[in-house]
């Protein structure tokens, strides 16, 4: 970490050394290290983040709050939220590009995009910004999906999204789809509300090894009918859930792939490779994963 002394730091920000020290006392930021001689040594990254934040805010405490969030890394979720709040898709693209310089696609999605969407969700009066965020993220994930190399594994994964509309969970599902594709799987993402008779051609084409229940709108009834329909096609694919998408838990629960795209992808690889995974294998006990259509119907 590069550091500079108090006078230079103060000059960089255009303030007096006393002001810099008073911010440290009052806000705890910027937080200098101490040299062996006891002198303050300020982190250049923090100072630069603060200098930029001061130009973008109307008061010191907000600037410090913004800088503190940005100081967590070269790109942070807060910067992406800032782009959403400005309705600036170009800036959002740039933030992701910066992230891709230091992180993988998976990490950029998990550490930046999804946390930013979570931060942007549920803010009073910011519904338009959140919708823009969802639509932009959907576009970004689709673009990333288009440049994913061809599948390297023979196994197929069928994702069933129960989200009733474009929402945060549906973005998690799209992120999972991207991660699985980049993990080499053949993947198909379909709506859980799809009529049973529409499934057979998709099932024949993909011949999935696993079915994954995702999204925020699953009900027992819908999942039951879905599994029945899948079994009706003769498929023995195992059923999993993602991010607690199943409306039941306990002894009726089906195994979970986890709650993050990379975790789920690792678990799926472990499953198809016959290795142990950190999920509860209760499939045999569940009423929702019958061996035959007749039992499922019952």
């Amino acid at each position: 970490m590069s550091g500079i002394r108090t006078n230079a730091a103060a000059e960089l920000l255009g303030v007096s050394p006393n002001t810099l020290r008073s911010w440290e006392r009052r806000f705890g930021y910027p937080k200098p290290r101490r040299t062996s001689g006891g002198h303050r040594q300020y982190d250049l990254t923090e100072l630069e983040a603060l200098r930029r934040a001061l130009l973008e805010t109307h008061n010191i405490s907000s600037a410090i709050e913004v800088a503190r969030q940005r100081g967590e890394g070269p790109t942070s979720a807060a910067r992406l939220v800032e782009a959403y709040d400005r309705f600036d898709e170009t800036l959002a693209d740039r933030v992701m590009e910066e992230s891709l310089a230091v992180r993988s696609v998976e990490r950029s999605v998990e550490d930046l995009m999804l946390p930013a969407l979570e931060m942007a969700q549920g803010r009073e009066g910011r519904e338009a910004e959140f919708e823009l965020a969802l639509r932009w993220a959907t576009g970004w994930l689709h673009a990333a999906r288009r440049v994913t190399p061809a599948a390297t594994r023979s196994e197929g994964v069928l994702l069933f999204d129960s989200s009733p509309r474009l929402d945060l969970e549906s973005l998690h599902v799209q992120a999972l789809e991207l991660a699985l594709r980049r993990g080499g799987f053949r993947v198909l993402l379909l709506s859980m509300t799809l009529a049973q008779e529409r499934l057979s051609r998709a099932m024949r084409a993909l011949d999935p090894t696993a079915l994954v229940v995702c999204g925020s709108g699953a009900t027992l009834d819908v999942v039951g009918r879905l599994v029945y329909a899948v079994r009706h096609t003769g498929s023995a694919a195992r059923v999993y859930e993602y991010r607690e998408a199943m409306p039941v838990s306990g002894s009726h629960a089906i195994p979970s792939l986890g709650s993050r795209p990379t975790e789920a992808t690792q678990n799926m690889k472990a499953i198809v490779d016959g290795r142990a995974i950190e999920v509860t294998e209760e499939l045999a006990a569940t009423d929702l994963a019958p061996a035959t259509p007749a039992r499922a119907h019952a």
């Binding site: 255009g14 109307h58 405490s61 907000s62």
Partner: protein, 169 residues
């Protein structure tokens, strides 16, 4: 302060033409400076108030803030409070309780919220007009019953400067 000096000493009137129509003010202590005094510096070098060190220096039209250390709020285009002057704290309460809140949790207008919102949104969007509008405090404090707001554009970044003044009748 330069603006007062000009008003008090008409013989300095010839200086007025050399000054810009804009002032800079601290978003916290409210001190006002002539824009021209700072003209030779890049804005970010004079971004923080050198008097109090707790506010950022913003630019506004001369009519937007008639005096130093007045009571004002700065409001963003989406009507959230983004700065509270020390003077405004005495009327509205601590800055920490107000930042990020919707303006209407703090004040309203007898002319209607729509009118107040429209004026503020226009100013925060960069409108050049300075308007006066009567206001009422949502949680009125004793002694602050008849007030009006002077609403004007300020920035950067863009915002509405809502200066609170006694209502003159």
């Amino acid at each position: 302060m330069m603006t007062m000096a000009l008003a008090d000493r008409p013989f300095l009137g010839s200086v007025r033409s050399a000054l810009t129509d804009r002032i800079r003010f601290c978003s916290r202590c409210g001190i006002v400076r002539e824009e021209r005094e700072l003209g030779f510096n890049p804005p970010d070098l004079e971004r923080v108030c050198s008097d109090c060190g707790m506010g950022v220096m913003l630019s506004a039209g001369r009519d937007a803030l008639p005096d130093s250390r007045m009571s004002f709020l700065i409001v963003t285009e989406d009507l959230r409070i983004s700065a509270v002057s020390e003077g405004a704290e005495r009327i509205f309460g601590p800055e920490t309780d107000l930042l990020g809140k919707m303006l209407f949790t703090t004040l309203t207008s007898p002319l209607g919220l729509e009118e107040l919102a429209l004026r503020i949104a226009r100013a925060a969007g960069g409108g050049r007009d300075v308007v006066l509008i009567p206001i009422e405090l949502e949680h009125g404090r004793p002694g602050y019953t008849r007030l009006e707001a002077r609403i004007a554009a300020c920035g950067p970044p863009r915002g509405a400067l809502v200066t609170i003044e006694p209502l003159l009748t």
